[in-house]
Amino acid sequence: MATMIEENGPSTHEHSHASPSSQARQKLEGLLNKNMKIRMTDGRTLVGLFLCTDRDCNVILGSAQEFLKSTDTFSQGEPRVLGLAMIPGHHVVSIEVEADSLEDTHGFGPNH
């Protein structure tokens, strides 16, 4: 697991489960390629595969689809296909994942 981080930044090679940073990494890695639903500050919701994140919580979703805000009762309709999209961390309001995808991921979700 640590190998994939190597190229982008310093990483702690010892897999001590006590270290909070390596635990956090494991949590996040468990979510990779899972469906994720992100609500943005302007009310739009994006649904796509979680591909990448960093310390500022900038998130990249793959095959993303855009849904308009739920209060706007008129413009709801087909989602718009966006493809690869990056949501800046400061525009992320909420993040949701599908419950089944949490089964193999420790440390997330209501059962925690």
């Binding site: 930044g9 956090a24 996040l28 994140t53 008129f74 709801q76 690869l84 089944d100 949490l102 440390g107």
Partner: protein, 724 residues
């Protein structure tokens, strides 16, 4: 794979109210807090990602909430509901019947502006389809508006079809996407023009009934109503004429082009009346306090925002109504010009027509109409002539090759016929491509001209072989005749024309730096124009030889003496013009060398490249041509070396020589019998340059450090040299 579980829950799920469903869906678990917390544990600059996903892939993601990349945020930030047509009707935000005359006039004018903006290269979704009425004309109850909406859809549809068929556009010219909109395909063209005509007749009655009568007391409201009816009448009639003209262009007969021309002339007659009645239409409610688009009834600029592709958003600025009529009148002028092409029957004439037309940088619609008028679906020129016959005629006109002469034994010789026919057939495609290239926009033309040289090099090779074969055949049959370099001369002529155009267009497109001018002009004057003139004179003598033989045959049969009258040689004008061009280029070349000697040409610091690299890049497409062989940089340096003269000329000598070249060009051009605009344009450059180079030769401002300026405003290819 995306949202699979939710789809399983409810098959009809992705229609209305998705976010509602998503919120209620128990499958989704909120992890915001944990996620953000986990992210904070990452190091600065560290990316957490999958093996298959790296920084490189991350670069191509669009950034949400960035106005330059996120087309979706614009629609989301306005403080009003974006309604589609049906919703707008339900909400009462839009009228479908009992529209007032000013409303109709305003809607029609705005639609025209949208149409023009589309023709200028924007997407349909952001232009014509911002008008809600065209989304579904069936819902419109007002007959005038319904007919107009259908009319404008048909205009778009036919224009799109023409542009697609002609295939002379690139993404910067035209957006052919229709985003799945219906282009009134369920109604026939005839039905739409019929509806427009009905509305027009009805309006004409209204115009007549509101007209002032003698001795009648006229109140201003009556007069205004009359004016408004008239304004609407003109607009509906204009739409009908424009549509009918476009429909006429789709017909196969040549006569239809003349018919189309008549229709656009009629449409042009309405334009001034349309221009003076623009103020009758309602204007958009400009509520700019919220930073919003101006809103016009029936239009919603954001209605299609979600249809736009996930690329960076492009903003379509709809042209102003005041500019609408001017655009239409220019468009009609161009269409009228296009119709004239059918009066040109010679292939060379047609090629010149395409070149001249392209020089005005015409719009994509007129360019496409010209293409589709030239080569109709049946692959015949103007729908009547075979391209092969056109090529044969062009050959007869240019070099009079014996093989195509009725008086020559080769004409009925099977083998000779096979040779020439197969050659002419092979010519057909490259010449069609050449004509198509002239339909592209100016910048793309240059690129494509560079590529087509390869095809012409192949033709050149074949032409020379066929010439040789025909010559040996002819020597056996008619030893007194020759068939040397006939077809080859013709292909060479076109080769040279393409090469010259390729180089010259670099000036028009402002590709060359000042320090490059000298070798471009050198290549043109010393090489290409020299070759062109010798090619033209060879063609001319070939013509004369053929004429002499014909004359002798005529004389031999009848003792009557044929009148010897001095005929104007067909190629004489072109030879004269080439001489003038050559002198202009030579003058520019010598001026540039002299300016360089005086330190008045700024040169780059050749650190990573060299003049050789630039030179080779400039003439790279010529490497595929065998005749004339490309001049390599080393050869150029040797040929243009001034030290081979004794004594080597100084800058004053070169200025003087340049002045003589410009003088020579002026003399040649002033003796052209009926000067065309091109002659006058060159004269406008030659005259001041004679004076400037003379002054420079006399040492005028020799010590000034200010660099000279080159003013290309009088002519695209030759600048007026200005010393400040």
């Amino acid at each position: 794979m995306v949202m699979k579980s939710a789809v399983d829950d409810d098959d009809a799920g992705w229609g209305l109210g998705i976010p509602e469903k998503m919120r209620n869906n128990a499958n989704w678990v909120d992890i915001t807090h944990e996620f953000k917390g986990a992210c904070k544990e990452l190091n600065l600059g560290e990316l957490l990602h999958d093996k298959l996903f790296g920084l490189f892939e991350a670069m191509s993601a669009i950034e949400m909430m960035d106005p330059k990349m996120d087309a979706g945020m614009i629609g989301n930030q306005v403080n009003r509901k974006v309604l589609n047509f049906e919703q707008a009707i339900k909400e009462g935000a839009i009228k479908v019947k009992d529209l007032s005359l000013p409303e109709l006039i305003g809607i029609i004018d705005t639609s025209f502006c949208c149409l023009i903006t589309w023709l200028e290269g924007h997407s349909l979704a952001q232009t014509v389809f911002t008008c809600l009425y065209v989304h579904n004309p069936d819902l419109i109850e007002e007959p005038a508006l319904k007919a107009f909406a259908l009319g404008i859809l048909k205009v778009c549809d036919i224009a799109r079809e023409k542009v697609n068929k002609a295939a002379v556009f690139e993404e910067e010219d035209f957006q052919a996407m229709t985003y799945g909109f219906k282009m009134a395909n369920n109604v026939s063209d005839l039905r739409v023009t019929g509806m427009l005509k009905d509305v027009e007749d009805e309006l004409q009655r209204k115009v007549k009934s509101t007209r002032s009568r003698q001795g009648e007391q006229r109140n201003p409201e009556m007069e205004q109503e009359h004016q408004q009816y008239l304004a609407l009448f003109n607009r509906i009639k204009f739409t009908r004429l424009l549509l009918t003209a476009l429909i006429t262009f789709t017909k196969k007969e040549t006569s239809s082009v003349g018919e189309a021309q008549k229709l656009v002339v009629q449409a042009a007659d309405l334009l001034s009346a349309m221009n003076s009645s623009i103020q009758h239409g309602i204007q958009s409610q400009n509520d700019t306090t919220k930073g919003d688009h101006p809103i016009m009834m029936g239009f919603e600029p954001l209605v299609n925002q979600r249809l736009l592709p996930p690329t960076f958003p492009r903003y379509a600025k709809i042209i102003k109504r005041e500019d609408m009529v001017a655009y239409f009148s220019k468009l009609i002028e161009r269409i009228k010009t296009v119709c004239d092409v059918i009066n040109t029957t010679n292939l060379h004439g047609i090629l010149d027509f395409f070149c001249e037309f392209s020089e005005q940088s015409p719009c994509v619609l007129s360019r496409s109409l010209l293409q589709t008028t030239f080569l109709i679906d049946n692959k015949k020129v103007f729908g009547t002539h075979l391209m092969q016959d056109m090529i044969k005629d062009a050959l007869r006109y240019f070099v009079s090759p014996p093989v195509l002469s009725y008086k020559c034994c080769l004409f009925n010789n099977h083998q000779a016929k096979d040779y020439s026919d197969s050659f002419v057939t092979h010519c057909s495609r490259p010449f069609c491509s050449l004509i198509q290239i002239h339909g592209h926009n100016r910048a793309r033309q240059r690129d494509k001209l560079g590529h087509i040289l390869e095809e012409f090099a192949t033709l050149q090779d074949e032409a020379e072989k066929v010439d040789a074969a025909l010559h040996s055949l002819l020597m056996k049959l008619e030893p007194q005749r020759q068939h040397l370099a006939c077809l080859g001369t013709w292909i060479l002529y076109h080769n040279l024309r393409i090469m010259i155009q390729y180089l010259l267009s670099g000036f028009e497109l402002e590709l060359y730096s000042m320090h490059e001018y000298y070798y471009i002009y050198w290549y043109l004057s010393e090489f290409l124009y020299a070759w062109l003139m010798s090619t033209l004179s060879r063609a001319d003598s070939s013509q004369m030889a053929e004429e002499r033989i014909t004359e002798e045959q005529v004389k031999g049969r009848s003792s009557k003496k044929t009148k010897k009258k001095k005929k104007v040689r067909p190629l004489s004008k072109e030879i004269t013009m080439s001489q003038a061009y050559q002198n202009m280029c030579a003058g520019m070349y010598k001026t540039m060398v002299a300016l360089d000697m005086d330190g008045k040409v700024r040169k780059p610091q050749f650190e990573l490249d060299s003049e050789q690299v630039r030179y080779e890049h400039r003439f790279a497409p010529f490497n595929s041509v065998v005749t004339p062989p490309p001049v390599h940089y080393i050869q150029f340096k040797e040929m243009s070396d001034l030290r081979k003269y004794n004594p080597p000329p100084g800058s004053a000598d070169l200025y003087m020589a340049a002045s003589k070249h410009f003088q020579q060009a002026k003399l040649i051009l002033e003796n052209v019998p009926c000067p065309d605009p091109e002659v006058n344009r060159i004269l406008k450059v030659a005259k001041p340059n004679i004076v400037v180079t003379k002054l420079l030769a006399g040492g005028h401002k020799k010590d000034t450090k200010v660099l000279p300026e080159f003013d290309f405003s009088a002519h695209k290819y030759f600048p007026v040299v200005k010393i400040i």
